[in-house]
């Protein structure tokens, strides 16, 4: 491994937290109490980063991932030198260009040409260097025709393009990128990625802050995973991204679980309403519960292949819906049914015992009904579940609409409502590299 370009050791960053009273502090009161300097010392602090250490080798691409508020952008600002660590040390070798906000500092009233000059010089380019790369900047931004118009007449896309073009042509040794690729149209994003790839080929160091895990796995060598300002994981991109995804899925799991409990409780409080007239119409999907309760669905569990309760699944897994029901008095006219709905209310699948010709004979006391879906071939998304016990003519005993849900997580971002089992094959002149070994992640281990 070559000598590291960025070295962070025990970096801690505390921000002063603005209590309301602090904002009201005035020069006058500071002078009266003689606390001009004391006033500049923070009283309440917020720790954005705590004891973060890492090294980035020359020529490598390093990503920082984490949820919102985990301290990623703070870290980037520290590496850029805009702010300094409260504790610990951070050193960067070579010229740094930070794509933190594209076109920060553009003045709306003056032309693109002058803004390019000022922006480039602000990023550290000399006048001579600017002359050399001016044409390249304008061509990259594709703004040759508009370069003499005031920047206020630019569309936001043009603005971003110009900002990116300047930042990338500063020819830094270390490039810092903060989620800026999310802007711009497909073609320009493509172009930016190509430019970044070119940077990597030329052996420049890149530090990335992003939510796009696909990009991380594709482009980055090492990953730092931050959570609430602390290091949660560090190292090989694939390994860290995997554990991050597992963690995120775990969080969603807990969220879905608590929500389904809350929804069920809410529905319990307002029982036996009539079915809404528009029920069944797609797009008008409203959660609720109704029915006579002669047969009552007392609990619902979503189970995986090993009978463990789960709310997050990966495509292809087995999902079992387990209903525990009770009939106060014996009934002989009963049907059990389920429906799966996508988040927008589109019915993905629905069936019941009557449709499938199970002849009901008798239901009395406690019982458990299980429906096992072998191979959940769904695309990523949240799915709502309808569960019902009703008469053959449709009169509901107990209808639970959308009170239970589960989530399918997938690293393949395919679309639609159903994922047929499929396989690509190519022959003849088509040459494609197979995707990097992904393997669906394991959840709930």
């Amino acid at each position: 491994m070559t000598k590291p370009v960025i070295v962070a050791q025990g970096v801690t960053k505390r921000y002063r937290r603005f209590a309301h009273k602090n904002q009201l502090r005035t020069l006058k009161s500071a002078l009266l109490t003689g606390s001009v300097l004391a006033g500049l010392r923070p009283e309440e602090t917020f720790t954005a980063l705590e004891d973060v250490s890492f090294e980035v080798a020359r020529g490598s691409t390093f990503a920082v991932i984490g949820e919102n508020g985990s301290g990623k952008s703070t870290l980037l600002k520290l590496v850029a030198g805009i702010t300094r660590p409260t504790r610990g040390s951070l050193s960067v070798v070579g010229r740094v260009s930070a794509l933190i906000e594209l076109g920060a500092g553009f003045h709306p009233e003056i032309s693109g040409r002058e803004n390019v000059a000022i922006n480039a010089m602000m990023l550290g380019l000399s006048r001579k260097e600017l002359e050399c790369s001016y044409d390249a900047i304008v061509d990259f931004a594709e703004l040759r025709d508009f370069i003499d118009a005031p920047v206020k007449t630019y569309s936001s896309g043009m603005y971003m393009r110009l900002g990116f073009a300047v930042a990338i042509h500063v020819d830094p040794d270390v490039l810092l990128i903060d989620e800026v690729l999310a802007v711009g149209d497909e073609a320009f994003t493509r172009k930016c990625l190509d430019k970044i790839a070119e940077f990597r080929r030329r052996g420049k160091t890149i530090l990335f802050v992003t939510h796009s895990l696909g990009l991380v796995e594709k482009m980055c060598d090492d990953v730092l995973w931050l959570s609430h300002g602390r290091t949660r994981g560090r190292g090989d991109a694939k390994r860290v991204v995997d554990s991050y995804l597992t963690y995120v899925a775990g969080g969603e799991e807990a969220l879905l679980r608590s929500r389904s409990v809350a929804d069920a409780a809410q529905a319990e409080a307002a029982p036996a309403t009539d079915a809404p007239a528009d029920a069944g119409a797609p797009g008008a999907y409203r959660a609720g519960r109704w029915g006579s309760r002669e047969v009552e669905i007392r609990s619902v569990r979503l189970l995986d292949a090993r009978d463990r309760e789960r709310h997050v699944f990966v495509p292809g897994e087995t999902l079992t819906l387990a209903l525990s029901v009770r009939a106060a008095a014996p009934v002989s006219d009963f049907v059990f049914g389920i429906g799966l709905f996508a988040a927008d209310g589109t019915c993905v699948y629905g069936t019941n015992t009557d449709i499938e010709d199970w002849a009901a004979r008798r239901l009395e006391g406690e019982a458990e009904v299980r429906l096992t879906l072998e191979g959940l071939h769904l695309v990523e998304g949240t799915y709502l579940v309808d569960l019902a016990a009703h008469k053959r003519d449709g009169t509901p005993y107990d209808y639970l609409r959308g009170l239970h849900s589960f989530r399918v997580k997938s690293r393949v971002k395919d679309v639609g409502i159903y994922r047929p089992l499929h396989r690509w094959s190519f022959t003849g002149g088509a040459e494609l590299d197979p995707p990097a070994e992904r393997g669906e992640m394991e959840i709930g281990e």
């Binding site: 920060a104 500092g105 990023l123 000399s126």
Partner: protein
């Protein structure tokens, strides 16, 4: 202090571009455009002339024609005052830049001072024309770079000081307006310094004001045509250098807090 100068010299291309942007952007979109740089001082002059020749006529013999005397002081004063009031808010106004781009922030107040210097220099030919018209233009006008330099150092120092401090104490922006107003009257712009008797407390107070010496020097070089205020100008230079050192020191001390507080 030396590090501040080194930084400003190293980033001079940026400072130059920002000053020219400032000048261009200010009048962009207005009908008169650059002409405003000339019209502004003229209108200001017109107002004061109206007040002090019609409403409250000033008949002191050594400063007639009064409007011309006024012009000699008010032009540099406008530079001083506009520089300070603009630079006190400039860091807050550019918060986006300071938070997102790494560059030496002292460039910003410096640009305020230099852009207003440019306005001053654009107004100067008009003043010289008026002086020539009144037959008052003397050789002493070639010495003008000296008071300009002294004023530049003083203004820069104060601009650095105020801009950094205002980030922490926003009230300064409001107070400053009134302080500058008072300062204007405490500087012999609309009256003659020479007319205030030696030894009086008022004279003593005026002597403590560095801008007094700068303005008096301008008036001597432009209006009177003979210069003997060298000692005063030198004192103003000393105060200016001190102000610059203090401003650069404070700015450097507060530098790290700027991205978090603006």
């Amino acid at each position: 202090m030396t590090s501040a100068i080194t930084t400003l010299v190293r980033y001079r291309a940026l400072v130059e571009s920002l000053v020219s942007r400032e000048l261009k952007a200010r009048y962009r979109g207005s009908v008169l455009g650059f002409v405003w740089s000339f019209v502004n001082p003229l209108l200001l002059l017109l107002t004061y002339t109206l007040v002090f020749t019609v409403i409250l006529p000033n008949r002191q013999p050594d400063i007639q024609p009064f409007f011309l005397f006024l012009f000699c002081g008010i032009l540099p004063w406008t530079w001083f005052q506009a520089s300070l009031s603009e630079s006190s808010g400039v860091l807050i106004a550019s918060s986006n830049l300071i938070k997102k781009v790494l560059f030496p922030a002292e460039v910003l107040p410096t640009v305020c001072v230099l852009a207003n210097l440019a306005h001053f220099l654009l107004g100067l030919p008009i003043l010289l024309l008026f002086l020539a018209w009144q037959g008052r233009l003397a050789w002493t006008a070639v010495l003008l770079p000296l008071p300009i330099l002294v004023q530049l150092v003083l203004t820069l120092g104060m601009a650095l000081f105020l801009s950094a401090l205002t980030v922490h104490f926003r009230d300064i922006q409001n107070i400053l307006h009134h302080v500058l107003h008072l300062w204007f009257f405490a500087t012999p712009v609309i009256y003659s310094y020479a007319a205030i008797a030696e030894g009086t407390p008022l004279r003593q107070a005026l002597r403590l004001n560095p801008m007094t010496h700068v303005i008096v020097t301008y008036q001597q070089m432009l209006f009177h045509g003979n210069v003997d205020h060298w000692r005063g100008l030198f004192l103003a230079l000393l105060v200016g250098v001190l102000a610059f050192a203090a401003g650069a020191f404070l700015f450097d001390r507060l530098r790290d807090t700027l991205p978090e507080e603006v």
